[in-house]
Amino acid sequence: MHITTLTSKKFLVAVAIGLIIVILLATVPLYSPGYTVVLLSSILMYIVLTVSWVIFSGPTGYISLAPAAFFGVGVYTSALLGFVLPLPVVIGIGGLVSFCLALLVGALTLRLRGIYFVMFTFGLVELILNFVLWWEVNITGTTGRVVPTVNNTTVYYLMLITFGILLLTAYLIRRSRFGLALQSIGQNEDAAAHTGINVTALKTIAFAISAFFMGAAGAIMATRWTYIDPRIAFNPLLSFMPVLMAIFGGMGQLYGPIIGATIFTYLEEFLITRFPYYYMLIFGIIMVVAILYLPDGLVGLIQRLWKRISERKYAYT
């Protein structure tokens, strides 16, 4: 970034807004009622899943339906280690296990492209789900596990910190050579390979970084559920939600997925509680209409609005 832009007014405004948001979020548990914390934790969870999904899938264009696998691995880590290790350690381990799984899977499969990669990642979730289910029923003789719980404020702060680290990571990746290389893979993978980029290694690392945060999110959220079984931990819904939220928000900018996940989750919550019997119908209609009129997501809408505002400004001056 240029020195002049660093000191420019706009940048200061952006930093100020960012700071206010951070302060607001960090102090929420101090003054607002208990449920806000619960809802924000859940929104933050979806933001973490969506932003970490975008780290890999945004620039490369590979649509991964594996979030549920990495999230579930985190959930199980929490269930297995939660009673013996302190929670922050468990979260780290959950992330690391997901990271390693992603390295393995990535090295094996990232040569698959397009729909085949989509299907593979989806199959992976189901394979792990069904295998864990079989293992628990036939080898350990149970299907459910109890997860130690912590209070809501702790969950909230852990999720907020994870989100902060994730945001920083995502920002640094976008601005780094690494991010540029990922972008070029998305534009033209063969050309990228010819310019000397180690395509497979880069993709695998990006995939694993994104998996780390999903695993961490899983390890945190598991503490809210008390009881888990394979169908709960590896719920395929959690694979689809980040994709939908990212498309809904728009992937061109870092803030797109954040806005997408926030509005999506809040809207869902609103509909589910106000119109429990019609929620899917209304939500479905909103999804179809949104995609018809906002093909570039909310980011596209914001950019268009901004353009109109600034054009009008210039027109008057």
């Binding site: 948001i21 619960v38 299907t143």
Partner: protein
């Protein structure tokens, strides 16, 4: 950069609006009792909610309001009941979140349980944490006992009461060997495992015991294998999708056993008896037995249910939930307040009369006075065939062959 600033302000406004919206609380004069329930209205569990249990809560609220409400001394009047229902999408994370919303934000007076064993398991500690009474409805895992939550009352505890009754019936009619299959989930594992020792203790040989994954589309190999082993009885611990598939395939393939038992599914007259036909299901055994003959209250409940919904209730937990709610209502009236702690203490100690007879909880807050354990379809009636005085009809053994169509 420009649109980043715009986006930032956008988020800022959203956060502000959100916080303002959330912190606006409503303080009204007490004119009704508000009860919240996060339950599956969509997703894979919605079907189960519709056939078993989901309607009982609606009907109870209507019944209470028809009588003017629940009398609470503290307010000196009868308070009508309002049921606030949210859809948990069959997702456990959504359910816990909505339950906390009901408690913390909507500040409901009481909560009703979600649907499904695992869901109940997740809901119980949440309600307990806030000191809310949770009466366990549809779902009954023994493991919940381990958590020992003072505000949690368990209504269904079938796996430990049904298995011995089933073993006794089998011994009585002369079953020598059984095949057991069970669904790979908490329900299946608990029931599947629970049956084995009771059978073995009574000298009944377990020749086959296999799990199957939820979602499997063909159970015929299991039926054929059991048939080839020549077992007398076939027992399945499954949920409605598996139970319906299993029965359908047994009929289609003409594979019959002297005794055919499924834990969850046959209890539903609407789904099970009416889908396959009264003659077809003759002799099929199922868990969770009671019927209109069990008690006068049961008959009244069936009549009310038929009048309200145009069909019979399920003969699994329906009467239990209904009675647990009647017990709950009497506890509130006796407490004369809406204070959870006071009501809880009364519920834990007192015995009240309900549709299924006297209703009380044991020291672990488990309900034990069952009207029956094992039922069997006989001429279109789900008869209780437990040994002893609960029996409404003797067991039909061997089960007649599936009728040829």
């Amino acid at each position: 950069m420009k649109h980043k600033v715009l986006a930032g302000s956008f988020v800022l406004v959203a956060v502000a609006v959100f916080l303002v919206g959330v912190s606006a609380t409503n303080s009204l004069a007490k004119d009704k009792i508000r009860i919240g329930q996060a339950i599956a209205l969509s997703g894979p569990l919605a079907g189960g909610v519709a056939i078993a249990g989901g309607r009982i809560y609606v009907m109870w609220v209507e019944e209470v309001n028809k009588n003017g409400g629940i009398y609470v001394k503290e307010y000196g009047k009868k308070l009508p009941v309002e049921l606030i229902r949210y859809d948990d999408k069959s997702d456990i994370g959504t359910m816990t979140k909505l339950l906390e919303k009901l408690i913390l934000e909507d500040k409901v007076d009481f909560v009703f349980p979600p649907w499904g064993t695992a869901w109940l398991y997740a809901a119980a500690p949440v309600a307990n944490k806030y000191g809310y009474i949770l009466i366990g409805g549809p779902g009954g895992a023994l493991k919940l006992k381990e958590l020992s939550l003072p505000y949690f009352f368990q209504v269904l505890n079938f796996s430990e009461t049904q298995a011995p009754a089933l073993a006794d019936i089998f011994k009585e009619v002369g079953v020598k060997s059984v095949a057991i299959i069970y669904r790979g989930d908490l329900h299946g594992v608990e029931y599947g495992e629970a049956m084995v020792p009771y059978f073995e203790k009574r000298g009944i040989e377990v020749k086959m015991k296999k799990s199957y994954p939820p979602g499997i589309k063909d159970l015929s190999p299991l039926l054929k294998e059991a048939k080839s082993l020549g077992v007398d009885a076939f027992c399945a611990a499954s949920y409605p999708p598996g139970g319906m598939l299993l029965t359908g395939q047994a009929i289609e393939l003409g594979i019959n056993f002297n005794a055919f038992f499924i834990t969850v599914t046959p209890f539903s007259p609407n789904l099970y008896r009416d889908t396959f036909g009264k003659d077809v299901v003759e002799g099929v055994m199922g868990g969770g037995a009671w019927n209109a003959k069990t008690s006068p209250g049961a008959k009244e409940f069936v009549d009310k249910f038929v009048a309200r919904f145009g069909m019979e209730p399920d003969y699994w937990g329906g009467l239990y939930y209904w009675s647990s709610l009647q017990h709950f209502q009497q506890a509130i009236e006796q407490a004369g307040t809406l204070d959870q702690k006071k009501i809880r203490d009364i519920m834990a100690k007192k015995k009240f009369n309900t549709a299924l007879g006297p209703f009380w909880y044991d020291k672990d807050r488990y309900f034990v006075n069952h009207p029956g354990e094992i039922g069997q379809w006989q001429k279109g009636v789900f008869e209780v065939i437990d040994p002893g005085k609960k029996r409404t009809a003797p067991p039909l053994y061997p089960k007649p062959a599936w009728p040829k169509k």
